[in-house]
Symmetry: C2
Subunit: 335 residues, 2 copies
């Protein structure tokens, strides 16, 4: 059976041009996958025409004329703008016409609309954003990056379980190592939430390695980093901030050594190397785990490559039946 | 009146050698400041002798024979090991023989021992660790970096006030900008703690700029970043982790271009530039604000330069009567 993915053409800093570019890459790469590009036909059509003489057979444009503004609440958006690109992308998944949706639009709106329209998987209490964080040899998954501001221990336990299933299927690592983000490795460290969560994890069959600290996120000694949405969101943005500061520093210190292509005297461009590694857009977006169907949230500044990567992730989630495995895994957790 | 600073000679990864080196730099730099180097005479004496033919007049060694281990609770340490270097350093401040203490030892032990022995300033509810974070043109102060795991809104408000006084005096910026770390800039964003704290800040006379996000910590648009100890600690360590990852990346990508001194072909060493900027040890330690006297906590891996910088901070806090100003500032906060 062909897998279909709906893609919001209108969300993101570089929409619709870069979204269209990414979708074309994906359509050419995976001819077995149907891509439903959801956006304003008048905006999307000319861009498509400028990029290809013939639109690939597995790519269809779904017209979505209205636009969700920052003033629309998610409930308003669903009720009053069912023909907006985010709502329609989610609606296609809800109706089973697509297995997953991809959007680089407003994260809050995506989370709310996808949660409302798709609903939770059996047994799942809260959805969580599973975002890739750079490590020397690949990436770790941090969950939750901002869907759930005030978590209970049971939510964090489920996040660990869901992200383990995701990591195993997408990155091919059996029994990924799960760490609980804390201020120290000792049992007594941390707030009440992490202390209670820790003992739940210890009773589970997950590959729980215990407390980890902030620096461990990027060291690669842990595959899944579990934390509350407030903390995860701040960390995610702080990571971007540090990378940005380093890029500014390097650009300054290497001025004169690097030409506009960044290659003249060094044989490589250190700024670009840092940028590429630290830019989580490159890793293919962040799934909102725990929902029926799937929703992949991309960074607002995603370009074509990142959108294509996100479509790959959406496709892999569907192909590997990650959701069925999540339901099983969550059912087996200690209560 | 001469200011005296007590310095724990035994705490930190490079103690006592680097502590002694830093203390010597400071003693030579500020002859008007008395430095009480607290540590095991048998360990400290020979190092001093190897570094100088004559110990500066303003430097005295205070013998502290016992060692606090990871097994000692702070209360145990104070009761059973009053002659350990951390307890004795704090005791000198409590007795008024030193204005401030500096330690690169176990942070948890420092916080607990200093809090127990020195006590809180009038009106202050909780002490907070005020740690410098790198920005393009200097640093911002993040408070709390881990003294107080579960904060109330009134604690965060006081942190903003205390760190404002500190920033103004140490970095010479009038009415520093105070930001509340959150997941978005909008009022409705965040958890209950930040929502309630935000309205307290708005009623205060502090230069409150509203919510800030993770990336803003390093952008320099905010001088004081306020957050709960759990979040601050994780962010602090995550910042180190990102910097570490970037250093590994750069070292790999520049291999062959940089010799062991790091200077041959580039005219500069990008790895060293990043390291120096991102290494918060360089900025002179983190004061535990809110205590009578002062306690400057240094990074465990501090070397001589960082210890000397921390002594400068301790000295400046005493010279500028930062504590008196904090008491006044806290008294004027909305209840």
């Amino acid at each position: 059976m062909t897998i279909h993915i709906s893609v919001d053409a209108m969300g993101g800093d570089h929409a619709p041009a870069e979204i269209v570019a990414g979708v074309l890459q994906a359509a050419q790469k995976w001819p077995d996958t149907g891509i439903l590009l959801v956006g304003n036909q008048d905006a999307v059509g000319p861009i498509l025409k400028s990029l290809v003489t013939e639109v690939p057979e597995n790519l269809a444009v779904i017209h979505a004329p209205s636009v969700i503004t920052m003033e629309d609440t998610p409930v308003d958006a669903i009720r009053k703008k069912p023909d907006s690109s985010i709502v329609l992308s989610a609606e296609l998944v809800r109706r089973g016409e697509a297995a997953a949706m991809v959007s680089a639009g407003n994260t809050g709106a995506c989370v709310a609309i996808a949660s409302l329209l798709l609903g939770l998987l059996d047994g799942v209490k809260r959805p969580g954003i599973a975002v890739p964080m750079p490590t020397p040899d690949g990436c770790a998954i941090l969950i939750d990056a901002g869907a759930n501001m005030s978590c209970k221990p049971a939510h964090l336990l489920q996040y660990g379980a869901m992200a383990s299933v995701y990591y195993e299927n997408i990155f091919g690592v059996k029994r990924p190592k799960v760490g609980l983000l804390n201020v120290g490795v000792e049992d007594a460290k941390g707030n009440e939430l992490v202390k209670q969560t820790r003992s739940l994890f210890q009773k589970s069959t997950l590959n729980f390695i215990g407390n980890i600290e902030g620096q461990d996120i990027y060291r690669g000694n842990c595959n899944v980093v579990v934390c509350e949405g407030f903390v995860g969101n701040v960390i995610l943005k702080a990571t971007e901030g540090v990378a940005e500061t380093v890029e500014i520093l390097l650009t300054k210190s290497l001025r004169g050594l690097v030409d506009s292509q960044g290659r003249s005297q060094l044989g490589c461009d250190p700024v670009a190397i840092v940028k590429e590694k630290m830019d989580y857009a490159e890793y293919g977006g962040a799934p909102l785990l725990g929902l029926k169907g799937a929703c992949i949230i991309c960074h607002g500044r995603s370009r074509g490559k990142a959108i294509c990567n996100a479509i790959r992730v959406a496709r892999d989630i569907a192909r590997h039946q990650v959701n069925d495995q999540i339901v099983n895994q969550v059912r087996d957790l200690p209560q």
